[in-house]
Assembly symmetry: C2
Homo-oligomer: 206 residues x 2
DNA sequence: CGTTTTTTGTGTGCATTTTCACAGAAAAAA
DNA sequence: TTTTTTCTGTGAAAATGCACACAAAAAACG
């Protein structure tokens, strides 16, 4: 079997397919087509079929896709069949909001450890988590086997904290700090920055 | 002058260039090159030059780019020379965190109105904003001339609230709800969903 | 002052991504 | 049963995006 590498741009669309399919599943929809799915998320039917064909044949001609089956398959492709532990680093307003967000648990992500460097915050509880001293990251993260971190610290310290996380064994970082992190290539970084998104949109407005 | 449309993917990179350049500016760096800028944000130098060349000639051979000048030019291109008013809709944990975030004001975005439909929340103050009844959106948003909204309501009501926003004259939505919004083509929507980003990353982990 | 170095802007071609369009399979209709 | 309709998976074509490489301009150097 030839397993050529799937383009990252394709991988990036899979979670959107999954999101829409899970929504259909909750609505009780049993079957869908590339056409219908495409209309739901604003992607062409051909694109969806091509993307999925990278991983196998999940549909049936004349019928389309079983929603439940395709959800299952996408979850397997995206490695969502086990629970992923997350470290939450930086317990300001945003860190607190994320700690309380139910969506993570609902999708198989569990915030297992929360860190901050502020002595005022260390020891406090947020959403069932005790905030720990960020100097303990190097010890605690490997102990719990955490591979993914969400970084919600001020931009001024984001780079150095990110390096500490990598040093502690973190392999993927969801970066909320408004700065480009410079890390080894094997570390996967995704950025969430509302300013960047707003500035993208203002280009098209008057 | 031929003004062919600039690809959206190029527009999407400009805010990242601007972010890095503003950082350099704060650091007191007067001049940079496409090479240096590229290394800072992980984009090839040729790519940056090609992107910028879509809008004009901002550099000088042998020297590179004046940081201050390029910041100015990018701000002008992205229409960031005036203050943009924002509506914040949905005052849960995330809405509250965004209301308190200083980054918007620092980049010329001003949250001018905050809405919720919960009688418990209406009338309360958050970060200097009085939370208003979301039934008033249709009246208040046009009155204040607000064009951009940040949507932080539960997924179950996001679509209908988004439609109300469009009806009230909103032209761009930064959508934090974990659902694809279905809106007229002329409305610009950007999504921020940590689950989607995490699922993208887990593909690459074991 | 001439030579070397730096660095831009861009033409060209390669690579990637998307769309098109159709054979074939399944289901629905007749 | 036969015909028509639906809808996938996929080669091929089209479109888009990116990297290379270089002339030309400016600066630095000696």
């Amino acid at each position: 079997m030839i397993t050529r590498t799937v383009p990252d741009i394709v991988v990036g669309r899979l979670p959107r397919y999954l999101q829409a399919l899970e929504h259909m599943h909750r609505e009780g929809i049993k079957t869908t087509s590339s056409q219908e799915l495409g209309e739901a998320i604003g992607i062409s039917a051909a694109q969806i079929r091509k993307d999925l064909s990278q991983f196998g044949e999940f549909g049936k001609q004349g019928t389309g896709y079983s929603v439940a089956y395709l959800v299952e398959q996408l979850q397997a492709i995206l490695k969502l069949t086990t629970i992923w532990d997350l470290a939450l680093v930086g317990m300001g307003d945003l860190g607190n909001a994320l700690a309380r967000y139910q969506g993570f648990a609902e999708h198989g992500f569990r915030i297992t450890a929360a860190f901050d460097n502020d002595p005022e915050k260390i020891g406090k509880e947020v959403a069932g988590l005790i905030i720990q001293d960020s100097r303990e990251m190097k010890r605690i993260i490997p102990q719990l086997g955490i591979k993914i971190a969400m970084l919600t610290v001020p931009a001024s310290v984001a780079q150095s904290v990110a390096e500490e996380l990598v040093d502690a064994g973190i392999r993927a970082i969801l970066n909320y700090a408004p700065i480009s992190l410079n890390l080894p290539n094997e570390i996967h970084v995704e950025n969430i920055d509302p300013i960047i998104k707003l500035q993208h949109m203002t280009y098209y407005l008057d």
